[in-house]
């Protein structure tokens, strides 16, 4: 015989804030990793400084977007490490904490901790370049979207690994490839014209194209702006929703 007592309704993000703080606490011990998260951006900024200072306004925006983008790589590493090495994922997923809260809590925790060097970079950029308020607001908006895209992407990728050893190679290929090759650190106009629509459809370079347009370095047609903005927003939303689905599915191995 069963009682007719109805079970608690499903709340998709149950446990999110508590798990977020857990992850912030865990991540905040990695001060070396926080500092080295700026290495690629720092080196590229130094190159730009040496080679062509007039490109610094573009390069700083690129460095910030790139930083938001590589947070997905941190998340990929963290999610795989916790699952494969610690097997702590089992502890959290066989519990009332939902899979989507686990993903988003971990992603947001990693982001919060790795945001501090980005803020330092931003303050430095403001001192050196001095961006207008609209550009700053656009930077915050596109930065958030780029982060959500890459965190979602990184989490999905993390589920494909059974072993931590192979991860760094793939992860650095993907994240540096999409973050450094396309026009993130340099103006869109330097990118082969035929490939520019592709750059406008990749989230990091879509974000920087819009930012470059806002500081007047790159001129974009209305169509190009619409393409970049809708690609960035649409792909992020699609990736995020897919990740929610995927996180739920991947709780269980097949």
């Amino acid at each position: 015989m069963r009682t007719s007592e109805s079970p608690a309704p499903y709340r998709a993000f149950r446990g999110l804030s508590a798990f977020f703080w857990t992850e912030v606490r865990v991540q905040s011990h990695e001060s070396t990793a926080m500092a080295t998260s700026m290495v690629v951006q720092g080196v590229l900024l130094v190159f730009v400084f040496i080679l062509d200072r007039s490109l610094l306004p573009v390069a700083f925006l690129g460095a910030i977007i790139f930083s938001m983008f590589t947070m997905g790589q941190r998340l990929l590493n963290e999610a795989a490490y916790v699952r494969i090495d610690h097997k702590a994922t089992d502890l959290y997923l066989a519990s009332p904490l939902t899979p989507e809260a686990f993903f988003l809590g971990m992603a947001a925790g990693v982001m919060l901790v790795y945001l501090s060097p980005v803020i330092i970079l931003f303050v430095f950029a403001e001192i050196v370049v001095g961006y207008s308020l609209p550009t700053v607001l656009l930077l915050v908006g596109t930065g958030a979207l780029v982060w959500l895209f890459s965190a979602s992407f990184g989490y999905v990728i993390s589920t494909f690994f059974r072993d931590n050893r192979a991860i760094w190679a793939y992860a650095s290929l993907i994240f540096n490839g999409f973050g450094v090759l396309p026009p993130v650190f340099y103006p869109l106009s330097y990118f082969p014209a035929a490939l520019q629509p592709i750059a406008l459809m990749l989230p990091p370079s879509a974000a920087t194209a819009l930012l470059q347009a806002s500081i007047g370095v790159t001129s974009l047609s209305i169509g190009a702006i619409a393409l970049a903005a809708s690609a960035l927003a649409g792909e992020t939303l699609a990736m995020f929703l897919f990740t929610i689905y995927w996180a739920r599915r991947k709780v269980r191995e097949d």
């Binding site: 608690a8 865990v26 916790v82």
Partner: protein
């Protein structure tokens, strides 16, 4: 205490004909479970015993909604764990095999934040954390990062984290591995206390004394099948005697003792399982032959070795 969605009238766990075939690209598929049926009743502590690779972890993973079965059904408090895992999850807690706490949390933080992620209030989480740290003997190291803890201390942290949940149904996969005898007994006491509070548990262990001391009932699994089910006493009785006589260093005397009961040899000594009434006669022979003997009760280990050993022989 069972949580709000615990349907207390349904059995905590009912598995029917569970099969699991692992398929990995590039390697042959493995049938880890070949039709396991078992149940765990309310407030029972049930042990799953079996050799390495028998399928214990596979079963626990399926039951705890972390692995999909190939076929068969499994219900947690009446909720289909495969089709409706969201209903089952709030009711369970798991100590995964070889699970480790977050290295950059202290035991206190690990337990407390875990309870908070499970939705417990600050006050309850705080009290439960303090109790669990105390029960698991972690008070001295409660504020040290887990990365600085010994293996056994980390394992204690994992167990403390899970027992503090008071979840209606607990799965513990080798919870006491690497623990000293004091810590193991602390775990036993904590689990018994949880039973008193209303929890049910299914655990695995390779320590047969632990299974004996702790479980109300046990299942022996061998090659993905349930080989035996019963209480520890029932299993011990199935060996054919209640006493064991160990004869040191005289494996060549096997034939002298065969008529008394089961004789097992491990290369350096003989073990004869006997009924108390034939002990005198056996000892007389031992004295005559000047053999060094020790007499003790049959343990679950002998019962296990014999049951599983017989099954291996039959298969060969």
């Amino acid at each position: 205490m069972p949580g709000p969605a615990a349907d207390v009238s349904a059995e905590p766990l009912v598995a029917r004909d569970l099969r699991k075939v692992y398929t990995t690209r590039g390697s042959p598929s493995v049938e880890a479970l070949s039709g396991v049926s078992l149940e765990v009743r309310s407030r029972e502590r049930v042990a799953l015993l079996g050799r390495n690779g028998a399928g214990k972890t596979t079963f626990l993973k399926i039951a705890s909604t972390l692995l999909r079965p190939t076929s068969g059904t499994i219900e947690i408090f009446g909720h289909d764990a495969d089709r409706n895992p969201d209903r089952a999850r709030p009711l369970i807690a798991v100590v995964p095999q070889e699970g480790k706490p977050f290295f950059h949390l202290t035991p206190r933080e690990q337990i407390y934040t875990y309870l908070r992620t499970r939705g417990l209030s600050r006050e309850v989480a705080q009290t439960r954390t303090a109790t669990a740290l105390d029960q698991m003997g972690l008070v001295e190291v409660q504020d040290r990062l887990a990365i600085t803890l010994s293996g056994g201390q980390r394992q204690r942290t994992m167990v403390a984290t899970v027992i503090a949940t008071h979840a209606p149904l607990l799965f513990l996969d080798e919870p006491t591995i690497g623990m000293d005898p004091f810590a193991r007994r602390a775990v036993w006491a904590a689990l018994r206390e949880l039973t008193r509070l209303g929890s049910t548990m299914l655990l695995t262990t390779h320590y047969l004394d632990e299974a004996d001391a702790l479980s109300d009932r046990l299942y022996i699994v061998e090659r993905g099948r349930v080989l035996m089910e019963g209480t520890a006493e029932e299993l011990k009785r199935s060996v054919g005697g209640t006493l064991k006589v160990t004869i040191a260093g005289q494996t060549q005397h096997v034939d002298l003792f065969r008529s008394f009961g089961t004789v097992m040899t491990d290369g350096t000594s003989l073990t004869v399982i006997v009924q108390p009434d034939s002990l005198g006669e056996l000892m007389a022979i031992a004295v005559r032959e000047r053999l060094t003997t020790t007499v003790g009760p049959v343990t679950l280990e002998e019962a296990f070795m014999r049951a599983v050993g017989r099954s291996i022989n039959e298969d060969e």
